[in-house]
Symmetry: C2
Subunit: 408 residues, 2 copies
């Protein structure tokens, strides 16, 4: 009926993932933030593995590790990132990179490279220790000098100093419209939906846009025993009201996949018997529909405007993050769906609620993302894990997608 | 019509207040927490001033400084405390002690001591650096050995070690039912009401009861981008709802003078993109009516019970503070009212929203409290201040109250 399914070496795939997890190993997870010694060593190891696989491997000036299939004029880019959050899991990012390595390697071994090459990449600093999506933005030539010069880690090191310390150099590796036909990124789901629905493959429809606001209130500190209620300028009170209304009233305007969170709240001075003088909170919401995000933002801004000035409390909403949604290419969704079906793998379509390098790259070429389940929905934690059978299946499905692209 | 009004020496009163403010002086305020070197020195100075006024002065084993009018078999106790909060004001506590000193001194000078003596006191540690109301509780024999042994300052020093360090000794000074006819305490208002109403004397009806609860919520941390709303166990959400309802719905059950505050909120782990796993807040409310406090507490507990378990979040309310209201003696209120009227001073009745030694002593003998205005309502801050004319007027009114008690 159809040509034999793409072969990948599951044992070798798992071995490479386990070996990579030794860099920055922390219990069952890893602590391998970008530009840490374990991250620098992991990238050097990866370059060696790419060379051993027959790829033309190098680390570019921002630390992107790339392995190019020189035999091919056209290539699909497969990758993700090998840096982690502090105290992170062993699969976040690493999975997508080693999938790329294994698929490129098995295609070269099978003599299938020339038809459609696979260029493998580990992008730099996806997790934003210095600058979010640094590597994929560099790849897409979407970085300005100002961002590069101003970026600094939480511990205060300048990105430019970190780059000097790591000693990266050579030519930047850039997106090549004549060569690169698509970008594929596999990732653990980082959420509970596949597991809850007993699906093994997630077909990502898009990466949600994120809007994040700080709502700050300024009132006046007063003794909470001696100041009558009517004379108070309680900075926290309107924030409690807004936080409550977010949870009570967002559902009426939200879509089925919209998510929101009020995860940061500070109340000053923070004493039981002192009326709060200042308070702030951070609200974020995510959806793949920019229009829905607009509607939710309008609602939030209306509440802030309505409460600003009440009881002498000044309220202000300031935007912290504004990331547009990125839709995946419909054709990639179809290919992942059919590849999963060929493998008899239960699949479902879903948005990605977290950011990924595909969000950046997807603005420049057709991009597709495939998820495999996260046990217990856990990620950004050393407890992050996925069944080995699911890890191997995901790679087989992605290899089949490449094969379909090749014959298209 | 009536005997000549009590004379106090306003200049001397202000001089003693200014001299006392030199101990621990910090800008326009004082930093004179109990058992600090400035506090120990201030108490020694006060004992000297009491002796110089003709009082039998001593510092007792907990550090209460008392000056007893030996000529008199019956006495009114007048006092407050000379310890301050860190970075506190110059009048909080000090005012009531120096009023006592000046009234006792001027009565001795005028030969009026025998009829009704004035016993002056600066109670130890009213501000609770080691143990709240330590001195007045000792005076009322309302302290157990366990409290004494377990008490420790925020910096970790045991109260027993602080007492050893200060070297206090001798006989404890105790409430004497046969001698002590009443307790009078003057204090700055520490709130804005007198100033807002253009009154110079506050007649305290009672000291509010305080109930303070910690409401703690336990849910689960999840990625706020990838976890659908329906699968979250957001610990902060029910607290936002309760905090909002406190401000929105307490007014319906509260009395005209009830006050409440939600001054402490913690949300963990405190990241914009992580669903809160744990959250807690501290709620307090105050009123002079125990019945009202019961009703408010029942409402709060009902909300906690109704929300406990919703969306897998465990809620718990635990009592932190439970202080019963103390009503002032009606007769003292009447005497303060008439004394203020005789001085042509605009007065108003009001509860005390803050705790005072009168709260402890008032359970053992008739107690009265008089407030003078706080400029801008400020206290527990070096900006705390009162017009000198109001300071002198308050002392004159209190001296008149003693005179009225003498002739009663």
């Amino acid at each position: 009926m159809h040509e034999p399914m793409a072969r990948v070496n599951g044992t070798r795939l798992l071995q490479d993932l386990r070996r990579l997890a030794e860099f920055g190993k922390l219990g069952t997870g890893v602590d391998r933030v970008s530009f840490s010694q374990p991250d620098i060593e992991a990238r050097a190891w990866l370059r060696e593995r790419m060379s051993a696989a027959g790829l033309d491997a190098a680390i570019d000036p921002v630390g992107n590790v790339r392995g190019v299939t020189r035999q091919s004029a056209r290539a699909v880019v497969i990758g993700s990132h090998t840096d982690s959050v502090p105290k992170g899991g062993w699969l976040d990012g690493a999975l997508g990179v080693i999938y790329g390595l294994e698929i490129a390697r098995s295609r070269i071994e099978a003599g299938r490279a020339p038809a459609l090459g696979v260029d493998v990449v580990s992008f730099q600093d996806e997790e934003g220790t210095y600058a979010s999506f640094l590597g994929s933005r560099s790849f897409c030539n979407d970085l300005d000098a100002k961002t590069m010069e101003g970026a600094r880690s939480q511990s205060g090191e300048l990105l430019t100093d970190a780059l000097r310390r790591a000693g990266y150099g050579g030519q930047p590796w850039r997106y090549d419209a004549a060569r690169h036909v698509a970008y594929l990124e596999a990732h653990i789901e980082q959420g509970p939906r596949l597991e809850a629905q007993a699906r093994r493959i997630g077909i990502v429809t898009g990466i949600v846009g994120i809007r994040r606001f700080r709502i700050a209130a300024k009132g006046q500190a007063d003794h909470a025993g001696t100041t009558p209620m009517a004379m108070r300028r309680d900075a926290a009170r309107p924030l409690y009201e807004i936080a409550h209304r977010i949870h009570a009233e967002f559902p009426a305007v939200a879509g089925p996949d919209t998510v929101w969170n009020v995860g940061i709240v500070h109340v000053h001075p923070g004493a039981a018997n002192v009326v709060p003088s200042e308070a702030d909170m951070v609200v974020e919401f995510r959806d793949t529909s920019a229009q829905l995000l607009d509607e939710i933002e309008a609602l939030l801004r209306a509440w802030v405007a309505a409460l600003d000035g009440r009881s002498g409390v000044k309220l202000e909403a300031s935007g912290l993050t504004r990331i547009a949604p990125t839709l995946m290419a419909g054709r990639m969704e179809t290919l992942i769906e059919s590849a999963a079906a060929e493998h008899g793998a239960a699949a479902m379509s879903m948005p990605s609620g977290a950011g990924h390098d595909a969000m950046v790259v997807g603005r420049f070429m057709p991009a597709g993302m495939l998820f495999i389940p996260s046990i217990g929905g856990r990620s950004h934690d050393i407890a992050e894990n996925t069944d080995e059978k699911d890890i191997v299946l995901g790679c087989e499905v992605l290899a089949r997608v490449v094969e379909q692209l090749e014959t298209a």
